[in-house]
């Protein structure tokens, strides 16, 4: 059982990061449950129907979802703020309906026979993705993402192609959600459309908002807390949505930027300040 909890916590951390990556360039995506479904179903088909190796199917389905995410973001990014959120919610709904009505994917009955994921696979991916995000947080890329997120028009005046940056982050976030979805599917053995409904997308976003929107640790903390705490306090499990809701409201009142609100400074002048001969 413990293994299961850790597995789901790991999956949720990956999913929270998939939302966080898109948020790094300023867009809030409620479509990641849909991208997760693309990963689970695509890799499921590849392995069960076409006999692909799982370790080929996962990157392939992630790439497919990445492309799909980038394509969706092209028209979606033309709309701003609340409208973008609505578009991504729409994508989530459409995805579930599309799967339900596609026979090849098992429709409402679901798709079975997905095997091969071990919990440590998820742990390894969490470490790898976390390390990448941590390394990126000290690079020029991080600064440019921060600039696009804070004021994309000013970033544009500096020469940043903000649309391109946003489309790429959307694609990368979608690919990560899909990789998590593929690992998840091949652990569950049997997947159904409702595993990827709008609530899943909503939870991913809430992990990030709860944990903190400005750094990679917040998303991970939010996901881990919201997955594990209800498992250990059984009372909470039944009340999960309610507790979650109350927590979110409280937190937004007290700490609107999440539990871990800090932003990592990408570079410091430090000792150089004196060398430059300040007045």
């Amino acid at each position: 059982m413990m293994q299961d909890y850790l597995f789901f916590a790991g999956i949720n951390i990956l999913l929270a990061w998939s939302v966080y990556i898109i948020l790094m360039s300023g867009s809030l995506s409620f479509a990641n449950g849909g991208f997760m479904a693309v990963g689970a179903y695509a890799s499921g088909l590849m392995t069960t129907r076409y006999g692909w190796d799982l370790w080929l199917a996962i990157p392939a389905s992630a790439a497919l979802a990445g492309l799909f995410g980038a394509l969706i973001s092209l028209p979606a990014l033309r709309t701003r703020g609340v409208y973008l959120i609505l578009v991504t919610i729409g994508v989530s709904f459409c995805m579930v309906v599309a799967i339900e009505s596609t026979e090849l994917l098992g429709g409402v009955q679901g798709l079975g026979g997905l095997v091969g994921t071990e919990p440590w696979h998820v742990g390894a991916l969490v470490l790898a993705v976390g390390a990448c995000l941590w390394l990126v947080s000290y690079t020029p890329l991080q600064r440019i993402l921060d600039a696009v997120r804070e004021d994309e028009h000013v970033a544009g005046a500096l020469g940043v192609n903000a649309t391109y940056v946003k489309v790429v982050t959307f694609g990368v976030g979608a690919a990560l959600a899909a990789a998590a979805g593929a690992l998840y599917g091949h652990y569950l053995i049997f997947i159904r459309p409702e595993h990827f409904n709008i609530m899943i997308s909503l939870f991913m976003v809430l992990y990030v908002i709860l944990g903190g929107v400005n750094n990679l640790w917040g998303a991970a903390l939010g996901a881990a807390l919201m997955t594990l705490v209800p498992e250990f306090i059984r009372v909470l499990a039944e009340w999960r949505p309610t507790v979650f809701g109350v927590l979110i409201v409280l937190l937004l009142l007290v700490r609107p930027e999440g539990i871990l609100a800090f932003r990592t400074v990408t570079a410091r002048a430090g000792k150089r300040i004196r060398k430059e001969g300040a007045p």
Binding site: I144, L145, D146, G156, A157, L158, V265, R272
Partner: protein, 249 residues
Amino acid sequence: MNATLKIDAVSKRFGGITALDGVSFEVAHGELLGLIGPNGAGKSVLVNVVSGFYPATAGAITFDGRAMTHLPTHQFGRSGIARTFQNIRLFRRMSVLENVLVAFPEHVRSPFLSLLRSRRGAEIDRAMALLARMRLADKADLSAASLPYGEARRLEIARALATNPKLLLLDEPAAGMNDRETEELREDIAGLRADLDAIVLIEHNVEFLRGLADRLVVLDYGRKIAEGLPDDVLREPRVVEAYLGADDE
């Protein structure tokens, strides 16, 4: 005239408001052009159009021989046009140093490749040199949001310089500064001329521009009403009238 920037019959309308009405002038290589006019004359709108922030409703903009009119904003930045904002728009969540680092053109052009070829130490040195020029070196690690007005405006200039521009557009850089700060800024802007192909400087205070600007262009109600050497322009009856009519600041 050997022009770097050509503004040809540029108009800009917002719904019913005509903010710019067929404005034409050129900025020569090596020139510092002062842009003046009463409140609401269209100076900032002109900077917004020339920096690609707003598309022109009509007319054409040519920069270094390149037709810019319909290009997206980032192409203006990459062509060598940099600007500051009348209502300061720093990245307030970043540090002073980061506000400069973020604008380096090699990373701005290919942000994802920056993962492979960032030279951190050298880049910080470069940014510190720009900050030192704007007298901000000792503020490098502070949050940009913590800077007072005058320093925030200087940081906007440092950030614009980090893009390695040919043309710098300054929208009221001395606004909110005291006399001493204004004089320092005037010296520093004069010192920038050697490194830039041209500067366009919006300023209400004509004394600031006298002796600094090579030529002046005067806007009023979205139209160009005068252009020429500062002393000549400031004597023209239409200019005197426009300024007396809207005597402010």
